[in-house]
């Protein structure tokens, strides 16, 4: 059974790798979007799924990454901007992590949202002071290149989530989620573990933001730090379910395809269905799609 599942994932990865050879721009574009959300949601669960510290502000890492990329573009080689974006997001998480992760529950949720807003306005102010009004990116790499970068990021994110979940680190994080005090008293260095999880869950979104800045060849803080990014991540992770790697893949796949089917002429209806789904999953299937499927498989 396990082997079959493993082969299935490998098959999926290969299919994704072959996609640019098979499909046109539209399919590649859809693939980039799907992979973007997978990478973001997988990164998110490393913090929020595993520790229960629900971040409503992951757009901050995405936006920071995009910003670093457009600032570096044409000044530094592309790879430097790309890595720099991940580094900046990860370092930012490390820098703010210690005080921020002492705040729990609904306070943490709102705090992360507030942080994303603060950084957004700081960057708006900086850009305005520089007389910048949105930065255009000229000479972005071709679509297929961006696709493979995103595929790499998504794969990396999945592997990180998968590995962490099965590691000593993951067990410690699960203990924190279940009962932080008890975890401390079982020897879990909670502050350090949370910080590691925070940095891990920040770095990839930074690089995703960098790729997406090239993809849309335009940077503007209101767009890059849009709360919608944060919200979508949470919705996908919740609907996909759980704290394990398959959840966000299923959630992202489900929502991206659903939106693909519905946005045609019923965008508001798509959003309403999205709302109903979030409510439905929270209330009646907190284990998410992944949990549901597992339960079906194990009678």
């Amino acid at each position: 059974m396990i082997r079959r599942t493993a082969w299935m994932w490998v098959g999926l990865a290969l299919a994704m790798a072959a996609l640019p050879q098979l499909g046109g721009d539209y399919l590649i574009g859809l693939g980039i979007t799907l992979l973007m959300w997978i990478a973001l949601a997988e990164s998110w669960i490393v913090l929020s799924g595993m520790t229960g510290y629900v971040s409503f502000g992951h757009a901050v890492f995405y936006g920071l990454g995009a910003y670093v990329m457009v600032v570096c573009w044409n000044n530094l080689p592309g790879w430097a901007g790309f890595l720099g974006a991940g580094l900046a997001a990860g370092l930012f998480a490390l820098a703010i992590g210690y005080p921020v992760l002492r705040v729990r529950g609904p306070y943490f949720v709102i705090l992360t949202y507030g942080l994303a807003e603060l950084v957004k306005f700081l960057i708006i102010n900086t850009e305005a002071a520089l007389g910048k009004f949105g930065r255009l990116v000229f000479g972005a790499p071709p679509l297929a290149t961006l696709y493979y970068l995103m595929l790499g990021l998504a794969t990396l994110a999945v592997l990180i989530a998968w590995t962490v979940r099965r590691s000593r680190l993951g067990l410690g994080l699960a203990a924190i989620r279940e009962d932080e005090t008890a975890a401390e008293n079982a020897g879990v260095p909670v502050a350090r573990l949370k910080l590691i999880a925070f940095a891990l869950s920040a770095a990839i979104p930074g690089m995703v933001g960098a790729v997406m800045a090239l993809r849309s060849s335009y940077f503007e803080p209101l767009q890059a730090f849009s709360p919608t990014v944060s919200f979508n991540i949470v919705a996908m992770a919740v609907i996909g379910g759980g704290d394990d790697a398959p959840g966000p893949i299923l959630g992202a796949l489900f929502l991206v395809l659903l939106s693909e089917l519905l946005w045609a002429h019923l965008p508001e209806v798509y959003m309403i269905i999205l709302g109903l789904l979030v409510i439905g999953f929270v209330l009646f299937a907190p284990e998410g799609l992944h949990g549901r499927l597992q339960r079906l498989r194990r009678p």
Partner: protein, 294 residues
């Protein structure tokens, strides 16, 4: 800057802050009594604005007719929502626990639904009420009749709520309930009825706030979110479940926004608001005015 001493600024701070306090009150009331974080609270403000717009523009009503109407409609909506959904859920503890634990996500879903349902029905185009009433001046303050009325109504409502909380039986019962639900139930406080009223009043006050907003600003299906955010900032500053604290924090936010900008520069507005919010959360997570955290 000498301009910091102007009555005009103080008036503006009170007008803005009063509105924040009004919106935040309902959010905090529902959190206090039911431990639910209603992220869709701004959408209630939006619905109130649409109700008032409808009453004033379509039916040609005066503001003094539209404002209570909006409050009433939204209050009824809150009452119905509680009766229809939460009473059912409350009878199933396992489900209710899940609702409490995930209320942010849950109401996030509700918020998306309300925004897009309104957009579907009324279209996304912004609308606005007429704002061509007479101007008045007193001391060094100049303003419009409707703004003065709005400020007066805001403070009247905030004050009555504060007094009702302190002195009336229901107010004391609500405060007891916020302190300790189980104990409140044991001493015979009718939780169910109070919760229903908390929903109704929380929604009515938010609806009223929305109606007031519609007098001065354009309205659209997506106008609610900033109010949700402002209300969250206020109740965190004032302390979750601390109703008097959130009234005070609402005013404080108004002062920060108005005087903070006057003292620095307008482009610092949002940085100031969020910076102060984040500092308070990190340094004094139980809110500025003490209060119990749980």
């Amino acid at each position: 800057m000498s301009s910091l001493l102007s009555g005009q600024l103080l008036f503006a701070a009170l007008a803005t802050g009063g509105l924040y306090a009004l919106v935040a009150f309902g959010l905090n009331l529902i959190y206090g009594t039911l431990r639910l974080l209603n992220v869709a609270h701004g959408e209630i403000v939006m619905l109130g604005a649409y109700a008032a717009y409808w009453a004033m523009t379509m039916m040609g009503g005066a503001p003094l007719f539209a404002l209570p109407l909006a409050a009433l409609l939204l209050g009824a909506f809150g009452f119905a929502l509680y009766g229809g959904l939460f009473r059912l859920a409350l009878s199933r503890p396992a489900l209710m626990k899940r609702i409490e634990g995930n209320s942010l996500l849950l109401f996030f879903g509700v918020s998306i639904i309300l925004q897009n349902a309104v957009s579907l029905v009324f279209s996304a185009s912004p609308r606005a009420n007429k704002a061509d009433d007479a101007l008045i001046a007193f001391a060094d303050i100049q303003t419009s009749q409707s703004r003065l009325m709005a400020v007066a109504i805001t403070f009247l409502v905030c004050l009555s709520l504060a007094i009702a909380l302190k002195t009336s039986w229901a107010g004391r019962a609500v405060r007891a309930m916020i302190q300790n639900r189980d104990a409140a139930a044991i001493v015979g406080i009718p939780l169910d009825r109070l919760q229903a009223w908390s929903f109704a009043i929380g929604f009515a006050v938010a609806g009223l706030a929305g109606a007031l907003v519609s007098l001065f600003e354009q309205i659209s299906p997506f106008m609610g979110f900033p109010y949700t955010v402002a209300a969250f900032v206020v109740i965190i500053l004032g302390g979750l479940g601390n109703l008097a604290g959130s009234l005070a924090a609402g005013l404080l936010l108004g002062v920060v926004e108005t005087f903070g900008v006057a003292a620095t520069s307008a482009n610092w507005r949002s940085i100031l608001v969020w910076g102060i919010f984040i500092l308070v959360m990190l340094l004094k997570p139980q809110g500025l005015f003490g209060g119990s955290r749980r």
